[in-house]
């Protein structure tokens, strides 16, 4: 065999070895691609939220959608009443709406089922009270009062050197927080909240009771808009 034929020619054994190496390289490429795509898929699908959070989110959305459906049904009924065309029907719709809005805005005394939470503590801050009020709001509170001061979103709950104020008035502990709404949901919220509060060293006592008829007499003073203009 000439030197040339040795340099360019290949024995069958060498060829099969080369094919083997190429096959293995191909296999590596395929496996690497699958591996990388698989990892990317896993990372993408698990980004952000875990399954437990998703389950809670689904629960929240179900409840929210039920509430929206109830509101839609109520509005549809109001629309039908107004379409009937009688003045008395229109007046009744408007009167009911005014009463509902006055209650929501804290402008009138109200009553209904709910919970009364009592927190005895030293050193709790306005932020703690804001969190407690928000927890009850998430639990479906439709009216709230703290130590005979009505609270709705927009009423300032602030920290001052003298302690916590609601609407500029000092509310020293113990705090008696009355909330009206779905008693079962409020009880769940109050139960969780008081458990967490009892774990706080500053809190001496945190209890709640469910009542069939909680009365809230305190009201918020209406503030006319100074800067904003309506439609």
């Amino acid at each position: 065999m000439s030197a040339r034929s040795r340099a360019t020619g290949r024995s069958p054994r060498a060829s099969s070895r080369a094919i083997g190496v190429w096959l293995i390289a191909l296999l590596v490429a395929i496996v690497a691609t699958v591996q990388i795509r698989s990892q990317a898929e896993v990372e993408r699908s698990f980004t952000g939220t875990d399954t437990t959070s998703l389950a809670f989110l689904i629960d929240d959305l179900h409840r929210a959608n039920d509430s929206l459906a109830a509101e839609t049904a109520d509005l549809t009924q109001r629309q039908a009443t107004l379409k009937s065309g009688s003045d008395s029907a229109a007046d009744q719709v408007l009167t009911d709406e005014a009463n509902r809005l006055r209650a929501a805005e804290g402008l009138v005394p109200v009553h209904g089922p709910g919970v009364v939470v009592v927190v005895s503590a030293a050193g709790l801050l306005a932020l703690d009270l804001q969190d407690a009020l928000n927890n009850l709001g998430v639990g479906g509170a439709e009216a709230i009062e703290v130590n005979d001061r009505r609270v709705v979103v927009g009423v300032p709950v602030e920290q001052t050197p003298g302690g916590v104020t609601i609407g500029g008035v000092l509310v020293p502990p113990p705090w008696t927080i009355s909330a009206i709404g779905d008693a079962n949901r409020l009880a769940q919220a109050a139960d969780l909240m008081t458990q967490q509060m009892r774990a706080d060293r500053r809190v001496r006592q945190a209890t709640y009771r469910v009542e069939a008829d909680v009365v809230i007499r305190a009201v918020v003073t209406a503030r006319p808009f100074v800067y904003g203009t309506g439609p």
């Binding site: 699958v34 509005l75 408007l94």
Partner: protein, 240 residues
């Protein structure tokens, strides 16, 4: 043994080793996330998406119904002075409840996530959470806001904030995540002063330093807030 044979043996060995690692990695991934687990997760995500779509539909329907009711009330008010007086009262109450649009001077506050800290065991302080939004809403109302919207969702007297980690749920709306923009109409000067006060919003300020949480604001002469488009639930309260 020739040099080329030794090289080819090493090449084959290296390729085989790499294959072994990759196959092992692949098997490990599949063991960690069996296909049914991924499928379950995807099913949950689909449920959330369907519920969010239904939520958006309902809110659109509510907004449309409120608009139609307004028009019907206006027609009824033309027929009677008493009805007209009632309608005026209700219009004012609706405006204060956030059920109508509001325009005026104000501020816009932008919140964006920071960067994760080195300590992975700590709370995800780099994420904007619902308490940040709650704190800002409380501060702005205390300092002259007459109306507030968060990412286009109007705040009402009964609004509440919840959520986990970086999700913020407001009332019956779907969760929102950063970047979050709060728009507030009211006393612009007081609100700007409050937002510039280093002693206010202590938790957010601390996380600005620790996690580079991003907070910025700007004032505007004419901001517009949308009307609330969800339920203002007062089914359980009765007036005394």
């Amino acid at each position: 043994m020739s040099r080329s044979r030794v090289v080819s043996i090493f090449v084959v060995a290296a390729v085989a080793l790499a294959t072994g690692f990759l196959v092992a990695g692949q098997v490990k991934v599949q063991l960690l996330t069996p296909s049914n687990q991924v499928a379950r997760y995807q099913a949950l995500v689909r449920s959330v998406q369907q519920l969010e779509a239904s939520n958006a539909d309902s809110r659109q329907k509510i907004a449309a119904l409120r608009s139609q009711i307004d028009a019907l009330e206006a027609i009824a008010a033309q027929r009677s002075a008493a009805t007209q007086a009632l309608q005026n009262q209700v219009a004012d109450l609706r405006a204060h409840a956030g059920l109508t649009t509001l325009r005026g001077p104000g501020v816009e506050v932008d919140l964006a996530n920071g960067v994760p800290g080195l300590d992975s065991s700590s709370e995800p302080g780099y994420l904007v959470n619902f308490k940040d939004v709650q704190d800002l809403v409380n501060l702005l109302f205390a300092r002259g806001a007459e109306g507030i919207a968060v990412n286009g969702r109007r705040i009402t007297p009964l609004s509440a904030f919840s959520g986990s980690e970086g999700q913020v749920i407001i009332d019956q709306g779907p969760p929102v995540t950063a970047p979050i923009r709060l728009s507030a109409v009211g006393d612009r000067n007081r609100m700007e002063a409050a937002l510039s006060d280093p002693s206010a919003l202590s938790d957010i300020r601390a996380r600005e330093v620790q996690f580079q949480l991003q907070v910025s604001f700007s004032g505007g002469p004419d901001l517009a807030l949308p009307a609330y488009d969800s339920s203002l639930d007062t089914r359980h309260v009765g007036t005394l």
